[in-house]
């Protein structure tokens, strides 16, 4: 049983003592910095679902596009950037008013959270008009927004009535100058029971809809409707009007039923979350958090595979010598001269863009340097007396190679493993940057690629571009400083005398 505090036979051969090695490492600032950043990255990667506020791939339009980080609002001049505002109007929040000739025929009712208005006719009523008006007032206290979205889940059913038609309209009234904007109107035509339109019960009103601009008489190229409507910080009234026109046919018996689910009125913010949003309105912070996973997985997996292949090839080549050695080293030399990026892009073009394909090719194209180094070490190690002793005691080739010689190369393996991680991470980021990443994994390179392709640079969206760059550099820097410190401590040639 080896103790972690005692003298490890292999480390001791390199003049190292386990506890002393740890002490030497802990004394270095680079090691502490690197470990701190790495541990932070690993914990972010592990707890990504807890830390991230949104799904990185599927959640879009969580705020307005290119929303700035929310903390920017503490700076002067940015204080009144519109935040996310959701006005959810339940059945109890409406103020209602019924007037007209047949006001008594309308009965309001509540069903769970739906508002139900019944217009029941007994067949003897005269001709007349009735109007049901629902109003809700809310305050808006930010600068003019760029977008608003209203979801109007209304369903109108007419049973057995032939002479009754209806019309409903949604309008927004600004209280400062009492100006009213009709954002939706079902007229023309007056609707009757034989008027059927699909999706009529769930109407979406978007301020960037060109048809809305035509209704309001403005061109979307010249004016932003949301800015026009919410131009001042005051209270606004949403008004839903349902008009019923009764032709007064005799013997027309039946009912009209209006069911209104909670109406949601949303103003997506121009300031959102910790790192704002991208052009699709997706949360950059969540993408960044999940990107940590991809980078760490790619770096660690491909470095491990590369080290594994390097150990097998290097030790066998060094120990066996002869034709095996020459064959392996010829393979390694050929691969060293092979251009890496074209090969990777080619494989991804032909087979798949899965992250595991990237990892395997990266690993299979980066084991050669380690194999060569190991071979040189093993060449000298195998002449040492202890190897001869094991052989004399009857140890087989495999036993000597991987139980006797290989443990002696652990210091070299450790720091070459660590030092080959950042290369893999940065290559993966570069490939994702030019569009060769796994489309289902939100890597840091993919964020940059989206910023590059969809105008993040032209709109100077620093909250979109700077975080992935900084995260990549910080992670690579931390791993390189860990590797360099390990190299200095474990490599006797580099140790300061």
């Amino acid at each position: 049983m080896r103790s972690w505090l005692g003298r490890h036979p292999v480390l001791a051969r390199h003049g190292l003592h386990r506890s002393r090695t740890l002490q030497m490492l802990l004394r270095r600032k680079m090691w502490i910095f690197g470990m701190a950043v790495l541990v932070a990255n690993i914990s972010v990667a592990v707890f990504a679902p807890v830390i991230a506020t949104n799904d990185p791939i599927y959640d879009i339009h969580v705020a307005d596009d290119l929303a700035m980080p929310e903390w920017i609002t503490i700076f002067p001049g940015f204080g009144d950037i519109p935040r996310n505002l959701l006005v959810l109007i339940n059945h109890r929040d409406w103020k209602y008013d019924i007037h007209g000739t047949h006001a008594s025929l309308i009965r309001l009712d509540y069903m769970t959270n739906e508002l139900v208005a019944n217009y029941r006719r007994s067949g003897v009523e005269e001709k007349g008009d009735t109007e049901l008006t629902l109003t809700h007032t809310f305050d808006y206290e930010y600068a003019p927004p760029k977008t608003f979205v209203a979801l109007l889940p209304i369903a109108v059913t007419i049973t057995k009535l032939t002479g009754v038609s209806y019309r409903f309209a949604l309008s927004i009234t600004r209280s400062s100058d009492a100006k009213t904007f009709v954002v939706y109107d079902s007229y023309p035509p007056w609707r009757t029971s034989d008027f059927i339109r699909l999706a009529d019960n769930r109407i979406t009103i978007h301020s960037r809809d060109p048809m809305l601009g035509r209704k309001l008489g403005v061109s979307l190229l010249e004016r932003n409707i949301a800015e026009m409507v919410f131009s001042s910080k005051t209270s606004y009234t949403i008004r839903l009007t349902v008009s019923v026109m009764d032709e007064g046919l005799a013997g027309d018996i039946g009912e009209m039923k209006v069911v209104l689910s909670p109406l949601s009125f949303r103003i997506p913010g121009k300031a959102y979350g910790i790192l704002g949003t991208n052009l699709e309105g997706a949360d950059v912070f969540s993408q960044l958090v999940y990107g940590t996973r991809v980078s760490l997985i790619v770096g660690i997996l491909s470095a491990s595979i590369a080290v594994l292949v390097g150990v097998i090839v290097g030790v066998i080549a060094g120990y066996k010598g002869g034709i095996v050695d020459q064959a392996f080293m010829f393979m390694a030399d050929t691969l060293i001269q092979t251009p890496t990026l074209p090969i990777i892009i080619l494989v991804m073009m032909l087979f798949s863009r899965s992250i595991y394909v990237i990892i395997s090719i990266l690993a299979l194209l980066s084991w050669m340097g380690l194999a060569r180094q190991l071979r040189a070490w093993v060449l000298s190690l195998k002449e040492r007396p202890f190897v001869e002793a094991v052989r004399a005691a009857g140890g087989g080739d495999l036993y000597i190679m991987f139980r006797v010689i290989a443990p002696h190369t652990i210091p070299l393996l450790t720091y070459s493993f660590v030092l080959s991680i950042p290369g893999a991470i940065l290559t993966e980021a570069g490939l994702s940057m030019i569009g060769f990443g796994d489309p289902l994994f939100p890597s840091w390179g993919k964020i940059l690629n989206e910023a590059w392709n969809s105008g993040g640079f032209a709109s100077l969206a620093w909250w979109w571009i700077a975080p992935p760059i900084a995260a990549l550099l910080l992670l690579a820097l931390s791993i390189v400083s860990i590797g360099r410190t390990l190299e200095e401590v474990l490599n006797p040639r580099l140790r300061k005398r």
């Binding site: 001269q337 251009p339 890496t340 990026l341 074209p342 892009i345 080619l346 073009m349 032909l350 950042p422 940065l426 980021a429 570069g430 490939l431 940057m433 030019i434 940059l448 590059w452 640079f457 032209a458 709109s459 100077l460 620093w462 571009i465 760059i469 990549l472 550099l473 690579a476 820097l477 390189v480 400083s481 360099r484 300061k496």
Partner: protein, 298 residues
Amino acid sequence: MGVDPTRFLIDLDAPPDQKIFLRKQFGLDEPIFPHQYVRYVLNLFRGEFGFSFLTRRPVIDEIMERLPNTVMLSGSSILLNFVIGLSVGLYAATKREKRVDSAVLSASIFSYIMPIWLMGLVLLICLAWLPAVAWGVKLFPISGTTSPLLPPDPLIRALDYLWHLVLPLVASVIAGFGSSTYYFRNIAITELEQDYVLTARAKGLPQDRIMKRHVLKSVAPPVVTAVALSVPGVISGWIITETVFSWFGLGLYAFQALTSYNYPAIQAVLFMQAVLTAISLYIADIAIAYLDPRVRFR
């Protein structure tokens, strides 16, 4: 590459006998080895790399248009990197374990981890997009190798070219000088511990004379080798960077060829890379034979 080249040339719904005829014309119905391969190699000697499927022009013409740009960019970047690396590395080696040395070391670590394309992105947003969008000043070009609609004055054209060259070159120097600096510093440190340096110092030679006369001479062979070994990566290593800067060079060409299954172009670019590798290593061997008295021509 698992692609039928005829689908680039004629309609997808052309009759199959036409496709077969076309394949026969290109010699694609023969076995790949040895017939097609031998013909390909023989054509290489005549400088024929085939036709690009996209533009239907000879690949060699397209490569020759782009080769000067790549040579300009990567050549100047390799040169600058090694000049900076050599001077800074030797200087840091003389100031070993002082503040200058540790500053150089941390700068070179930073530069070592910084990929050129990432540095390029940083420079593009800071020096090209930010002035252009925020202040309306066209400080540096956002992409490309030359500006459109230039007067035919060669001086203006040259200046415009250099103006476009600045950002990729600066990016490659910031992101590239680190590894050469670190390497040369370590070589120079081992050299400085040799006995001949001690002798020279004992003779009373000043430090800069020791460095220039003695150390530089013995450091030269590994420097030449390092330069020669950095040439092979030129085309494939610049794929991402040239794509980021839309630099009209072979890296971007290789990327475009790769993403459009344009295999004559890919073969030609990789062949160019192999030729460049061979030439640079050969020149390095000759140069080392001159520089290093231990190596002799046979």
